[in-house]
């Protein structure tokens, strides 16, 4: 954890990230939030180990395994600095579960005084046409871009539609009205999470995603957000550099534990 951020802030960021990805398909198991949405996003189909619980670890794991077996999904565990009980990651490793998807949570202040780079006008914006799109249309579009199955696209749309926190999806349109890039911002109180920032392959390297990103942050600030967060794969160095230039800093890391290969 980056000690430059108040730990209280980062645990709220962690909660906001969990809230922003809430699927309808979830059950509490002794203090763990067990999620089993059939969508693509792992955060909506994994165990969020948020409390220490009362059962033995083996008993809890068995109950989680039974839920995932019942819906035909592999059990993933999301491991953050806030995961409980202490030592869970080592326990899962000892059971042969592999560490995958090393991810960074990056955080930036949106206070106008602390001068985020993105609120400055950028010339690029002049020629760009943004469009608010509804959740169903966004899930369908981004799912197709990523090659997600129809079931996964539908699950994403369902998750957005029934989310306890408001999602705003935005696209950058070409002159013919077709989306060239898109993304979502989810505002909960003073926290804004950025999700699904994506540019169409042929349009990359033109600053579309970063202009979109800035516009999403402006919308979030209009909705009252003061702090922005995002999750990015540790191996995605180009994206992390862009986010750093926009004022984001690594706040904490998380990864998943995946079941042993059969």
């Amino acid at each position: 954890m980056n000690s430059a951020f108040a730990p209280g802030l980062l645990s709220r960021v962690e909660d906001a990230g969990i809230n922003a990805s809430a699927p309808r398909e979830q059950l509490w198991v002794d203090g763990w939030l067990v999620r089993f949405s059939p969508g693509k996003a792992k955060r909506a189909r994994c165990v969020q180990a948020v409390a220490a619980g009362r059962m033995s670890l083996d008993e809890r794991l068995a109950r989680c395994a039974a839920i995932y077996a019942g819906v035909g999904l592999p059990p993933y565990f999301r491991i953050t600095p806030f995961s409980l009980p202490a030592g869970l990651d080592e326990q899962l490793a000892a059971r042969g579960m592999a560490r995958i998807d090393d991810t960074r949570v990056m955080v930036a202040s949106l206070d106008a005084d602390t001068a985020p780079a993105f609120v400055e006008e950028d010339g690029n914006l002049e020629s760009m046409s943004f469009r608010a799109v509804d959740g169903d249309a966004f899930a369908e579009w981004i799912g197709l871009q990523r090659g997600s199955s129809a079931e996964a696209r539908l699950a994403h749309a369902e998750r957005i539609r029934h989310s306890p926190v408001r999602h705003r999806a935005l696209c950058v349109l070409d002159p013919g009205g077709r989306p060239m890039a898109g993304g979502q911002v989810v505002v909960e109180g003073e926290l804004a999470g950025l999700y699904d920032i994506f540019s169409v392959e042929a349009m990359r390297g033109r600053g579309l995603a970063s202009a979109l990103f800035r516009q999403l942050l402006r919308l979030a600030m209009a909705d009252g957000a003061r702090v922005a967060y995002l999750q990015v794969e540790a191996s995605n160095a180009p994206a992390r550099r862009v986010y750093e230039r926009l004022g984001f800093a690594d706040a904490y890391a998380y990864h998943y534990r995946s079941p042993p290969a059969a």
Binding site: F130, R131, A132, L170, Q215, L219, A222, G224
Partner: protein
């Protein structure tokens, strides 16, 4: 929560509808969700958004008479990127039919409450009169945007509108205020226009928007194609000015929505 603005001026032909549809298209281009309510029986904002006023069923008339909801009456502007509750000549009848019914000046306010979460901005194109229709608009708005040509008689009509706004503020809607005066169809080469523009700034100070909309033929041509000028020719001087104006409006509205 929606920010609701009336585009109003008692004079006709000052650019109310052009302001409404282009501001709507500009805010939509910034990624905001926008609803236009056409309160003018001429239906120009409806047609100018690419929606045939002859095919409306239901229209804003039905909303005012409470026989349809906003959700039932709204239609997407095909090119504008915003939604429209349209109007046509039928609306002129509402004026008469509403006389004598209760809450007659608050019908639109009740109807809009149901879509408060769905839109960032609601823009109401008011007719060029201080009628019951305009009153319905003023009763639900947070602010009034007054498009003005910088001409000799422009200030005269303004005092009547300002008095009406004061009365609505005192009796029906305490949050109502003049957000700003927008100088439209502006030609800085005409000395009189520059003088009136200075007078406006001296009199209304910060309530005069920084953005000035120039006289521009592309803005004038756009309605016949059923599009806001900002969509019809996005590179034209008029379109760029309206995009600037959308940014200025968004910034002013955002500043207000932040609790002090």
């Amino acid at each position: 929560m929606s920010r609701i603005f009336c585009i109003a001026n008692q004079k006709g032909g000052v650019g109310k509808t052009t302001t409404t549809v282009n501001l709507a298209a500009g805010l939509a281009r910034l990624g905001r969700k926008v609803l236009v309510v056409d309160l003018d029986p001429q239906g120009n904002a409806t047609m100018g958004s690419g929606i045939d006023k002859r095919t409306l069923d239901p229209s804003v008339y039905d909303v005012l008479l409470e026989s349809a909801s906003i959700v039932e009456a709204r239609r997407p502007s095909p090119k504008g990127g915003y939604d429209v509750v349209g109007a046509n000549r039928e609306l002129a009848g509402a004026e008469v039919e509403l006389v004598g019914v209760e809450r007659r000046d608050r019908r639109l306010r009740s109807a809009l409450a149901a879509v408060d979460e769905a839109y960032d901005f609601v823009l109401i194109d008011c007719p060029p009169s201080l009628s019951l229709l305009t009153l319905n608009g003023l009763a639900c708005a947070h602010g009034v945007v007054v498009p003005m040509q910088c001409e000799y008689f422009a200030l005269e009509g303004l005092s009547d509108l300002v008095n009406t706004i004061k009365q609505v503020h005192a009796n029906i809607n305490p949050q109502l205020e003049v957000i700003g005066i927008l100088r439209v169809m502006f030609d800085s080469r005409i000395t009189l226009q520059a003088q009136v523009s200075e007078q406006l700034k001296a009199h209304f100070g910060a309530r005069v928007f920084d953005t000035v909309i120039p006289r521009n033929v592309r803005l004038a041509e756009a309605p016949s194609y059923g599009m806001p000028g900002l969509v019809f020719d996005p590179a034209s001087k008029g379109a760029l000015a309206f995009l600037d104006f959308a940014r200025e409006m968004a910034a002013r509205a955002d500043a207000r929505s932040v609790p002090a």
